[in-house]
Symmetry: C2
Subunit: 223 residues, 2 copies
């Protein structure tokens, strides 16, 4: 099921970006299986595999969790919500429209994946994330390889007290990422980051790495 325009590994890494708008098409079983298989090939400390993936599709069983998530999203976004004028085509205005639409429609994404973490007495500090977020990145990259897109979010957080019991999460397991997936609407924009000289050092923190230069045509974040 490789998408006709599937990139090679390196090209895929540097062009995959957050996708927040989805066509209504469902993701067929075979593709979903491949996406989750790739996610679970992610590394974890001592190969303990504390990651679990709980998938919501569009059947009635998923309705309650989707509804909790949708309400939570809208409430959490309300304070940030701005409605740009129709003729405002600036980047912030376009981002605001994308975010509003994302928040209003996210609970209806074709597929929603909850990445869960089984803590099993481990520290819950940032380093525990090394055993679950690489798998989430694999998931997004595999989606891209098959013609889909998604985005890592923390938007379960405002509603996790309702959501986790509704999803039957046992003690010691929590949701650590909420990833909607679907076929992208529109074209992918460029991946924008800070210049490499701000992000990569050699020998000592802050010391420039002479070899670390952005390829020509690289697009940066503002500022």
């Amino acid at each position: 099921m490789r998408a006709p325009d599937a990139p090679d590994l390196y090209e895929g890494l540097i062009t995959t970006r957050a996708i927040r708008r989805y066509r209504p098409d469902d993701i067929p079983d075979d593709d979903l299986c491949k996406i989750l298989f790739a996610a679970t090939r992610g590394p974890s400390g001592h190969n303990t595999q504390p990651f679990r993936f709980l998938v919501l599709r569009r059947d009635p069983d998923a309705a309650e969790a989707r509804s909790i998530l949708g309400e939570g999203f809208r409430e959490a976004w309300a304070p940030n919500r701005v409605e740009p004028a129709d003729d405002d085509l600036s980047r912030p205005a376009r981002m605001a429209r994308t975010m509003n639409e994302f928040v209003d429609s996210i609970a209806e994404a074709p597929v929603i994946v909850f990445a869960c973490f089984r803590s099993a007495g481990q520290r819950g500090d940032i380093s525990a994330g090394a055993s679950v977020y690489p798998a989430c990145q694999n998931l997004l990259l595999a989606a891209r390889a098959l013609g889909y897109g998604g985005v890592m979010t923390q938007w379960h957080r405002p509603v996790s007290d309702q959501l986790e019991p509704a999803l039957g999460l046992p003690d010691g397991v929590s949701i650590v990422n909420t990833i909607p997936l679907g076929r992208p609407v529109g074209s992918h924009g460029p991946v924008r980051r800070l210049p490499l000289e701000d992000l990569v050092f050699e020998g000592r923190y802050g010391s420039p790495a002479s070899w670390a230069r952005d390829p020509e045509g690289t697009r940066y974040t503002g500022g």
Copy 2:
């Protein structure tokens, strides 16, 4: 500089595994630049890019940090160290030999990358990892794409009190991963994980996803 056997994106995701033994070859500037560029294309919350990558190569400036790291590794590994009999070819024996060799030689890996996190007042809990470990996974996948390999480790931890000042880390920045990189020695074994039915659920935690089936020939972890 694409390696002749560079896989496509999907194939790369499902076959990349931890590489702990390296040939002595250095990594040329261009390849190292491409690897770090791919790392920094990783996602982060609100595209805040709190990740920074500090690279050690083989010049004299890197000697002190490499020495601290090497001692730390050997001390931390000492309680786990076993020396299998020469004729013991079991998987645990092979793993023990690989780990002993890794610990003894890791500080001399051609390149060592410290993934650092600028906390800037953010929570340091597991979810902060969503803004740095996807970039680390990109780094390992990019290395793979170019014919190199590496492994995420937390082995800076026992020596971070010495290492972070020696590397000039400012307040609010800490090392969250230590990734040695180089050309792999020998062939890659298979990626082994639990069966998908243990890792992927649908609708409710623990409920099987009928479509989640391991491809034929999948190798599992023991037990």
